[in-house]
């Protein structure tokens, strides 16, 4: 064993560059894999821990303001809840601060603790006086509002000033960048803040064990059956909130997991290439080793150890590095949940990664090393290297027909002289290029989805009105502006859809809504009352398809609806309905649009428009430019994708470099001969670069369809996690020029990777090389 170790270490010293390639490749792959697995194993636990610690509500149900409060206090026993909160009086509060308008669902609640939904105060204190309000930390941080700030409530019958006295973390709602937010005032403060049309009661329930989705649906059905019709106006369960909370991490871990497999595959290819190359070039040495007494297993051990030792070093660095790199994302999760950040890692998981990483590398190294073990000593001694085939002849003939320079012809002929090595190199380059394709495409797909959700390019100004200001007056103001091209008014109401537990949010449009930029996956936009569009998740859960009709219920009234299209909409994880305002029966109370999407004429000054219109009724309407910026979690995913693409490209460069290094060393005698015959250093470099370029061209051509397919798969996974199907337009984000440029960039990178081996080859000392033979 000592002899094997001594020989392996001595060989490692001799092959320092190759050891460095192995170290870096394994380091990048294992660090990426560690990040993915750490996130996967740790992201669900913080939510669960916080949900238990803060006694989160399994079910939140909104009841109409007209519902008998006493009746509501009996609802926990109807559904067998072990703990409950409420009925809390609630209203949608609109307030202004620093020229901006905000909306929060505000509840009258006198203390933050109890048997259910403990609100974790992270800053300040709970509200004691009627002019005090408590906000969520997520909302405060997103909108830069601090404890001590004053806000001006504009939705109440009389304008009121409130002081922010505390910030809390509420486990029963998503983060502010993904969902609407709650706020709390004292119960006594509620009457003065309540807008009659926007008031309701909230009940929250907790059960002895975590209920399933169907159990929750059963509870809501039971409540609905035991209360007067139309009492329930909405409900939210903990599974939805957990999904909303986890969606970013789920997408991140999906992306990381997919590319960790890529990185691992590229590493295996690089390791196998390297060991194969070493064995081929060390035939004579293998023969000598056997002649002096190394057993076949010993010979295999020497070659395998040369890879395992740097791989071990890489794992010892890469696993802690990957764990460290995953911490900011975990800290972000903990922060959102109001948990103290505790560095999260799992020693068993790290040990598993170490063992798994070494096992994969060992297998990748041992299989090609077996060839060394099986060699007959005399054959090995007689042949300094393994005989090369004549692969590449057709390529050379083709190159000659194309009248390429001889150095280029020789280079492209060499590229496939060792077919297995060429294939393994193709794999590493292919994975790198495919990852780049995804890294280019996915952010664009995200941007398209974002544009669809925010109406980017379709409307420029959003106006919200208070209940005190009539819809007709808003329309009059907007239509009076010369820049106004069109106005679409928007309202939201909750529908009950057969087969769906929770009330379904609807978007009701008045005006020409077909040009707002929403993405229709299949079917068409509605063009008559009663026609609706819905995302895939709703269609699936309600067992509907485009063309089907169903009966929806709103305020206890049944309405016949027909699905005319499937729409992409991530709000409420795919449970929404889009329809014309005229679909609502006239008898529906209080349903008047409160939001207006304004499309300006081309060339209009958006900010001047916003300032002018806002100044007309500063307290009654909120006017702002449409916010089309990408949300934070998507930016994180984009950044991670970019980082992964860099990692895979680096591994790809390592693979090309490694192969060229092996080819160059193996062909040292040929290169020396060519130099002796008059090949110039420049021609030698061209020859080596041509070899790399051909491999990259082939890999690039293969990688493009693979990258595009992977982009498609990831889009589908991400869309599905938000309850949607991917619209065709989201796939088609590549233009034909890019499809050519990306592989060409791969070629350029491969040629750059060829520079060092090329220079070494160009500097070959003819006398030394030929003399040593």
């Amino acid at each position: 064993m000592t002899a094997i170790l001594v020989k392996a270490i001595a060989d490692l010293r001799r092959r320092r560059v190759q050891a460095a390639v192995i170290f870096l490749t394994v380091l990048l792959a294992i660090a990426t894999g560690t990040m993915a697995l750490t996130l996967m194993s740790q992201t669900r636990d913080p939510y669960q821990a916080a949900f238990q610690a803060q006694k989160g509500a399994h079910l939140q149900v909104a009841f109409h303001a007209t519902t008998d409060q006493h009746l509501l206090t009996t609802t926990p026993s109807i559904i067998g809840a072990s703990a409950s909160g409420g009925p809390y009086p609630a209203t949608t509060l609109e307030f202004k601060r620093a020229g901006q308008t905000f909306y929060v669902e505000t509840f009258g609640r006198d203390n933050p603790s109890g048997d259910i939904e403990v609100l974790n105060i992270t800053s300040g204190r709970w509200a004691r006086a009627n002019d005090e309000i408590v906000l969520t930390r997520s909302f405060s941080e997103l909108n830069k509002i601090s404890v001590g700030d004053q806000i001006k409530v504009v939705s109440a019958p009389t304008t009121t000033m409130l002081t922010v006295v505390g910030e809390v973390v509420d486990i029963d709602e998503g983060s502010a960048d993904l969902s609407s937010q709650h706020a709390w005032v004292t119960t006594a403060a509620m009457p003065a803040l309540t807008t009659p049309d926007l008031s309701y009661y909230l009940m929250i329930y907790r059960f002895p064990t975590d209920p399933t989705s169907s159990q929750l649906q059963g509870y809501v059905d039971r409540l609905r059956a035991s209360l007067p019709p139309g009492s329930i106006s909405g409900s939210v369960n903990y599974l939805l909130i957990r999904n909303v909370f986890n969606i970013t991490n789920q997408i991140l871990t999906s992306v990381l997991a997919a590319f960790s497999v890529f990185a691992l595959a590229a590493t295996v290819a690089t390791v196998a290439t390297l060991v194969t190359g070493i064995v081929i070039s060390a035939y004579r040495e293998i023969g000598i080793m056997k002649a002096v007494g190394f057993t076949p297993a010993g010979v295999v051990g020497v070659f395998a150890l040369q890879v395992i030792l740097p791989a071990l070093a890489a794992c010892l660095v890469g696993i802690p590095a990957g764990t460290l790199l995953s911490q900011p994302l975990l800290a972000n999760s903990s922060h959102a949940l109001g948990l103290a950040y505790v560095p999260s890692f799992s020693i068993p998981l790290d040990l598993l990664l170490l063992a798994g990483g070494l096992l994969v590398v060992s297998l990748a190294a041992t299989l090609p090393a077996l060839r060394a073990g099986l060699l007959k000593p005399i054959a090995a001694i007689t042949n300094a290297t393994a005989p090369r085939g004549t692969s590449g002849r057709r390529l050379r003939v083709l190159g000659a027909r194309l009248r390429l320079p001889r150095a280029v012809i020789l280079g492209i002929g060499d590229a496939f002289a060792r077919p297995l090595r060429a294939v393994l190199t193709l794999v590493t380059v292919l994975l790198g290029v495919a990852t780049v394709v995804v890294a280019v495409g996915l952010p664009r797909s995200f941007e398209l989805i974002n544009n669809s959700e925010t109406g980017a390019g379709h409307y420029q100004v959003v106006v919200n009105r208070t209940n005190a200001y009539p819809d007709a007056d808003v329309m009059r103001i907007l239509n009076a502006q010369p820049e106004t091209a069109s106005v679409v008014a928007l309202d939201g109401e909750n529908f009950t859809v057969p087969g769906i537990t929770d009330p379904v949010n609807s978007r009701l449009f008045r005006g020409d809504s077909s040009r707002l930029g929403y993405m229709v996956v299949t079917g068409r936009w509605f063009n008559a009352p009663g026609e609706v569009l819905a995302p895939a998740s709703l269609l699936h859960d309600a067992h509907l398809k485009v063309g089907d009709s169903f009966t929806g219920t709103i305020y206890g009234q049944a309405i016949q609806l027909r699905v005319v299209g499937e729409i992409y909409d991530i709000s409420n994880l795919g449970h929404s309905l889009f329809m014309d305002y005229a679909t609502l029966p006239a008898s529906i109370p209080n349903s008047i649009p409160g939001r207006y999407l304004v499309t300006l004429r081309p060339g209009s000054d958006v900010s001047a428009y916003v300032q002018r219109v806002a100044a007309l009724q500063p307290d009654l309407i909120d006017v702002h430019a449409s916010d089309t910026s990408i949300i934070g979690p998507v930016k994180i995913i984009d950044s991670v994708l970019l980082a992964i693409a860099v990692v895979l490209v680096l591994i790809g460069i390592g693979g090309v470099f490694n192969t060229l290094l092996l080819n160059t060393r193996e062909r040292l005698q040929d290169t020396a001969t060519l130099k002796a015959m008059g090949m110039s250093p420049r021609q030698v470099m061209v020859m080596v670069a041509a070899s790399a370029a051909l491999l990259a061209v082939v890999a690039g051509v293969l990688a493009m369809p693979i990258g595009i397919a992977l982009h498609r798969v990831l889009n589908d996974v991400i869309s599905a996690s938000a309850g949607n199907e991917t619209p065709p337009s989201v796939y088609g984000v590549f233009n034909p020029i890019e499809l050519v440029v990306i592989p060409l960039l791969g070629v350029a990178v491969a040629v750059l990777a060829a520079l060092i081996p090329g220079r070494w080859a160009a500097r070959t000392n003819v006398v030394e090389v030929l003399h040593s033979e």
Partner: protein
Amino acid sequence: MTELVRLTDITKVYQGGITGALNGVSLSVEEGEFTAIMGPSGSGKSTLLNLVAGLDRPSSGTVTVAGSDLGKMGESALARFRRDRIGFVFQFFYLLPNLTALENVLIPAQLKGSVVPGRAEELLDQLGIKEVANRYPARLSGGQQQRVAIARALINKPMLLLADEPTGALDTNSGEQVMDLLAALHRDGQTILLVTHDAKLATRHAARVISVMDGRITDDARLETTEREATDVIRMRGEETRR
């Protein structure tokens, strides 16, 4: 006769001065000469040939070939020099294994960018190996491989053909054939500088035999003159070897 090669006070030291390969060697070779350099292993004869080929640079002294001082040339210029003016035949042939015989022969011309149609085939025919033109080196005998190597060395019509132990890896019969080939080339006017340790071969074909020992020229005999008989050279070579 025109002087083609001139070595002036050449020294070549390897391994930081520990080993001296050549020590104050001066020599000139005229156009059309067939010169053999003889000496035992390690005497410096191959080093001398490498310096003339521009494959190596002297530690001191100058090497001039066809009026060009090789010491003043950069790597690229030396590559062009070898490509255009020198043909080199190695002991172990050094054919490119993944190219056919014909492709191997064509390489220097293709590197130069001046392939004369039919020249390679003509050379192969002339050297008696036309029928193996499309075979790979692994399927050729040693003698055939060396003939391919000679054809390759001649493809660009070099002014100087250098041969380093061209028969060293061949059996006697094949070696004789190769030497006959070189002699025939010489008769057609080719200047040849041959390194060999085989005195019989050298004296049978070369008109001039230079003996090298421990990095110095110990003898320089022009055999077609009366200066020294071939047998003297052989005798002297044998005595030096015994010392």
